[in-house]
Amino acid sequence: MGRVFRLPRRTFLRGAGGVALALPALEIMAPSRAARAGGGASPKFMTSFVGTSIGRNHWPDDDCCGPTYPGDQLTPDNEGAGYDLKHVLSPVGADPWQYHSGFGGNQPAFDVQKELTVVSGLKVPWGPDGDLPPGGRTIKFHYCTVTPQISGTICSDYSEAPHGPTIDQMVVDAIGGGRPALAYRVEAKAAGGNTSAMSWKSNGSGGVSRVDPVVNPRLAWESLFTGFVPPDPAQAAAAAFEIAQRRSVLDLVSGSAERLVARLGHADKIRMEQHLDELRALENKVNGVMPGSAQCEMLTDPGGSWPVTPENGWSNEELRAEVLSDLIHMAFVCDLTNAASLMFGQWKCYLKMGPAIGWDNDLHGYSHFGGSQTGIAPLSDAIAWHIKHFARLIRKCMDTQDVDGVPLIDHTILTMIFEGNVGYDPEADAVGVHSTENMVVLVAGGRGLGLNPGRHIKTDEVHPAAVLLGAAQACGVTDPLGDIDEAFTGL
């Protein structure tokens, strides 16, 4: 089997069903250069998700759980550039900071405010099942807070699956040239299935297929650096042999899948074709060659067995977040993909974060001020922990040059979304944390793609998906995002 770029079935079907039909096959198959920014750098896009609402309260006041929840711990008071940094955004600033708990002493600040835009006042609308507004959710909060944001489609049931591809997949569909988006999750022990994923792609049959995130850093590392050849001749020879062996085995396994496809009934055939698509994507990756680039390098093998602690216990998510962020960064540096998703935790995340921030209980408990805790401090610290990792990734992209010599962040847009914020909760018919009013999306970078980062932008109930779509359009996406056909243009 030679080095053949094998066309995923869904790519073929997409091409065959649209205007690409008349194009030569190789133009569909080859990595697109059309969307590259000036000088040869291609746009990159990441969506990350934080599995909790943003709480509000004054800290250290103990008036949590009151009727009004004053004092947003994230949303700046001031608009425009130079916005004020509240506790949750401390990692974005220039000065070391500490968790309210004092745990771990000084924490790093990454000085990335000039690259980070805070878009606030967002809203995922809701309504009764059967009569949902575009991109709306049923009033049941947790189940339906992720997919409307990342897909722009309604969520009216408990399956959590969107009705169209998610924004990361839209980006690779538009400019990825067949290279798949990365999908990682930091929370090691999650519920599984749809609950624990944030990426869905078109399945070539009119529906979408869930993209399970990779959780194990070692697997993510090895999957990403498949094509690297070590500089040492002996190691290079061994690596070449290993690649050749993988290619042979994968070719054989794909042959098995192809034979099965031919013998299965309709429903089973679709599933086996999807499996075959993934095998071919893996083959393409193995057949690929790492581009030469001054700053493109194989990161150190994270090693270890990465055990998963049962019952949402702490499974070293601090280091997982660092390694997975580093891999996304290097994937962008090496131009291995144009899009990634990083799910820090599923919705209603029960991750026990004590070893990271020093508070007992879990993230969901923090958000409801449960157990022995009082006040907003644990939740603020927990969200600050997420922002710390997000800011760290922004900083890495600022400190790395793209192939055209400008900072990687200029051609990269990093976004972060949250489950909700305090506001009117239609489920309870009261103010509470189960609201999708007053939501926030963080958008970093993209200066070279036409964005003007570093501001706080207040909106009037814009849909979060419209913000993501606005960012994705800067990367070359032209299609609507689900029901959302009007992108937010203020970025």
């Binding site: 009033i139 798949p180 022990k189 999650a190 519920a191 599984g192 299935g193 609950t195 624990s196 297929s209 869930r210 399970d212 995130p213 959780v215 194990n216 070692r218 697997l219 999957s223 042999f241 062996q245 993988r246 042979s248 085995v249 054989l252 396994v253 042959g255 098995s256 099965l260 013998r263 299965l264 009934g265 309709h266 429903a267 089973d268 055939k269 086996m272 999807q274 499996h275 698509d277 993934e278 994507a281 893996l282 067995s305 990465w306 055990p307 998963v308 049962p310 209603k348 007992d360 209980n361 969901h364 408990g365 409801h368 449960g370 157990g371 022995s372 239609p426 489920e427 309870a428 018919d429």
Partner: protein, 554 residues
């Protein structure tokens, strides 16, 4: 495609004599033909036995099912002797609904394919460090780097277990082409390890493939081949791949009728793997899978597993006596933790509950951990778990006006817990909370860690009575009382059957095609003690395990 088989209509007790199926041939030896991949396969030998096909009384769904992570790890262990359980480290986690094998939830993904390759590569590398093990798997010692016959021996032997059928000639040839990698590396074992690599990520290993063979006169169903029946039996009773003995039965055509299958299943239930399989089934059903691997939590899991083994296999007692057992299996540490007498000899052993108020599985720490919330138990969540897992009564989501995520207490944090919860039983919430909270309060004397307590946490003025109620069923006190109450309720019996069927079929919600089978099982065991071992044998030897309805496009 869903069809109402004319014969399904007949799937009622009147159609059967005992567990037998009148559709058998007179000599009871009617057999589905047994080719590796079913109809139209192209090369490998058929299983033995009669090639005529019996007419089934009933059939149900079938098709492609991916191995769950747990099944995958068991299969790797039994295929190549690698017990490191690598799937749990790398493969995407399964959704628990409550079982891990609901195939509608299984989505092929890059994470799955990459993880399967990773597991396969590492397993191959480990085997390269044990060349003798590779030779044992092959059943030969290679005479040199280019010993193609020995490599084909490995492919044939290992492939039969991995794919649960003989490989076709084409498949053997394809795998044999990996000899070139060994020649290049000047090592036969490199080629052998590459074969293992391939098989561990081959869809024929990752998925349970059921093609079947035509049933004369009935174009809407197919008879599973003996190989496919062996696979169904094995994953049902062992949660892993068939062993050589079971595959030998398939090869000899000895899984083609009810009696043969029952005999095979009877033998399988003597095997340790059936114990492990049933432990895993119960851990998924009762919601403590992965609940503890060390310390006192591991002791709790061992406690529940020991009871499952005793009831199902050692005593072959009523399945539901799990909930009324008067003894429990404790380590000295767990006995101290619970405040029960230590087992004899200061070694793990059975201990009488006596007058402690405990009784049965609902007294176990592994189960009492249900629904721990805000640092304490949640009577509502415990009640919900029991309603849904043990009564098969889904609780609808809370109505507008209720936020289930806020801690109890609200504006009156100093009151007693039972008083806080009393308000939930009023108004619109009451219809659901009355189904749940009464159950939970009957278990309130036991904390989320399984220890006994007389009062609310930190509130000595709030006495816990342990009085509970299963609305519509009756009142009880404590886990022993709840166990007795459950035993008297037909709904619990029906639910246990349904849960077992969900597990066997990989389907969360049985539909109209499944319903007659469930009904028949229920009627077959009506009035008896619901012996799980007998139940498993009835399912294993049923027509539904040997025939399936064709899907759309087949």
């Amino acid at each position: 495609m869903r069809i109402a088989l004319p014969l399904v209509v007949c799937a009622l007790p009147a159609c059967y004599s005992g567990v037998g199926l009148p559709s058998q041939g007179d000599d009871g030896a009617a057999s589905a033909a047994s080719s590796p991949g079913g109809s139209g396969d192209d090369g490998a030998s058929d299983g033995g036995g009669d090639t005529s096909t019996e007419t089934p009384a009933a059939a149900t769904h079938g098709g492609l099912r991916r191995l769950s992570v747990g099944e995958y790890d068991n299969a790797v262990r039994d295929l190549i002797g690698d017990a490191s359980r690598p799937g749990a480290v790398f493969l995407p986690g399964d959704a628990l609904t409550p079982f891990d094998n609901e195939y509608a939830q299984q989505t092929p993904s890059e994470a799955l394919v990459a993880a399967a390759e990773k597991v396969a590569i590492e397993a191959g590398q480990r085997l390269l460090g044990e060349p003798a093990k590779l030779e044992e798997l092959a059943g030969c010692v290679p005479t040199g780097v280019e010993d193609a016959d020995c490599l084909r021996g490995l492919i044939t032997r290992l492939g039969r277990k991995a794919f649960r059928r003989p490989l076709t000639a084409e498949e053997v040839d394809e795998y044999a082409s990996l000899l070139a990698k060994g020649v290049e590396a000047e090592s036969w074992h490199v080629a052998a390890a590459a074969v293992v690599r391939g098989m561990l990520q081959d869809p024929n290993f990752l998925y349970r493939v059921e093609i079947g063979e035509p049933v004369p006169g009935n174009p809407e169903i197919v008879a599973l081949t003996d190989w496919e029946i062996a696979t169904r039996l094995s994953f049902f009773l062992w949660r892993t791949i068939p062993d050589d003995a079971l595959l030998d039965l398939a090869e000899d055509g000895k899984l083609s009728n009810e009696d043969d299958v029952r005999a095979a299943a009877t033998q399988m239930l003597l095997d340790e793997r059936s114990r492990e399989g049933m432990e895993q089934f119960h851990s998924l059903w009762l919601g403590f899978a992965g609940g503890g691997t060390e310390g006192i939590r591991a002791d709790m899991v061992a406690e529940t597993n020991a009871l499952v083994r005793r009831v199902v296999f050692e005593e072959e007692a009523s399945w539901l006596s799990l909930f009324t057992s008067t003894e429990t299996f404790l380590t000295p540490a767990l006995a101290e933790h619970y405040g029960l007498p230590a087992p004899e000899g200061d070694m793990p052993g059975w201990v009488e509950y006596g007058e402690s108020g405990r009784g049965g599985l609902l007294s176990h720490g592994a189960v009492l951990a249900w629904g721990a919330k805000f640092g304490d138990t949640s009577p509502t969540t415990r009640g919900k778990e029991i309603r849904e897992r043990l009564f098969c009564q889904p609780i609808p989501p809370p109505p507008p006006g209720q936020n289930t995520d806020d801690p109890p207490g609200g504006d009156e944090p100093d009151g007693c817990k039972i008083d806080h919860y009393a308000k939930y039983r009023e108004g619109g919430c009451g219809s659901c909370h009355s189904l749940m909270d009464g159950i939970g309060f009957g278990l309130e004397n036991y904390g989320a860690d399984g220890t006994w307590r007389a009062n609310d946490v930190g509130k000595p003025e709030c006495e816990i009575t342990g009085d509970g109620e299963v609305a519509g069923v009756g009142a009880f006190n404590g886990p022993a009382g709840l166990g007795d109450l459950m035993l008297s309720n037909d709904g619990v019996r029906a639910c246990a059957l349904k849960q077992l069927y969900r597990y066997v079929s990989g389907r969360a919600e049985p539909d109209e095609l499944d319903a007659p089978f469930l009904q028949r099982l229920s009627e077959m065991h009506n009035g008896d003690e619901l012996n799980l071992r007998a139940l498993m044998l009835d399912i294993a030897s049923s027509d539904e395990m040997r025939f399936r309805v064709l899907g759309e496009g087949e």
